[in-house]
Symmetry: C2
DNA sequence: ATGCTATGTAAACCGCCGTTTACTTAGAGG
DNA sequence: CCTCTAAGTAAACGGCGGTTTACATAGCAT
């Protein structure tokens, strides 16, 4: 709690900084879980990418499961969607979902690749509901808001799967123009 | 190679039948891999479901990887699609893809849930290409057949994900009617 | 009946993984 | 300078999972 540590002078930064290492582990976990899935990424792999000792995930997060929960919570923010403009909402959503360069730190691939493990899946379901679907439903409004939020999630996950996960992603350019238009219209229709 | 073993008289069937046990392991593997994924299903789990000894997967398939390859190969048959009538092709495909009661023995969830493991993913990519996309492309014809086959695969996988894997599947009834119509039209458009 | 081979089993092997424990050390406060 | 606590590390522990090995037995052939 001494020195604001302006984050612009790496030379003076102490070698040991709990917040910084915790954040490094979290970021490495988000990368790994989004690409290689929950079961197939080991804590040694994550901590090696973060440049720290494997024992620190137990110290800072309690367990691998808790680390997954923290990593997904940090990524699941409904605000990214609800802060989009309501006019041209559809194209904005499609742009947002197709803008990312890859699955890195993307909650959707992370959840998909964790769905095989029962405990990780339970965490995903709970967090998705609490942090995304329910806020989104409130944003949509009391009239059919829950159904609209569910439709949004299904559509977005399908689009993400198609772009990021499926081995045929390289062929994606084939259907871009018309499909993007249809998707944008579908997203727009949910708020009209 | 003695006795045709008409499969209708279980009383006379020998207790030891290599083909039968091999098939039982394969079927159990297809069930397990489709639901719990490649990494999260153990060979002890598979062989327990098949009622046999874990060592038999090494004997009959060589390894867990080879078992995955055999399980997926057995499910990946382009014929299921190419034998559909060309008129009403779209609705027939949507009916086929949405008819299954669950992910059991479905190649798409199997591939999705195996995509985290690099070696399993390589197997999936190769088999999908050899056994499905390329035959489908030949069926579509020389003119843009490859692109059409890729579009088909992407669309079908997205639909399957939406129905089977995503935690929001329970909400699916919300968008059935219009979405099915659009999907059918999209599949139909690929052959017209 | 009697061996012989294919079939199946039990148990151990070996490596990996999440976690814990015991220990070292950086760095602030006296 | 010394001390004391927080931060980090190394190594081991227990368990699990794929695979191998050594052994048992069913069923056909002689």
């Amino acid at each position: 709690m001494s020195m604001p540590e302006s984050a612009l002078e790496p030379a003076l930064r102490p070698q040991r900084d709990a917040q910084r290492t915790r954040a490094a582990i979290l970021a490495a976990a988000q990368d790994a879980f989004s690409i290689r899935g929950y079961s197939d990424t080991g804590v040694r792999e994550i901590t090696a990418a973060a440049g720290v000792n494997p024992a620190l995930v137990s110290r800072y997060f309690g367990s691998k499961e808790k680390l997954y929960e923290a990593a997904l919570s940090d990524l699941l923010r409904a605000g990214i969607i609800t802060e989009l403009p309501k006019e041209n909402f559809g194209v904005a959503v499609v742009d947002l979902l197709t803008a990312s360069q890859g699955p890195q730190r993307n909650p959707l691939p992370m959840m998909m690749l964790a769905s095989a493990d029962p405990t990780a899946r339970a965490i995903s379901d709970r967090l998705l509901k609490e942090l995304f679907v329910e806020p989104l439903a409130r944003w949509y409004g009391p009239e059919r808001g829950a159904g609209k939020a569910a439709c949004f999630s299904a559509l977005a996950s399908g689009l993400t799967l198609y772009r990021e996960l499926y081995p045929l992603g390289a062929f994606g350019a084939e259907m871009s123009a018309e499909t993007r238009k249809w998707l944008a219209a579908a997203f727009q229709a949910l708020i009209d």
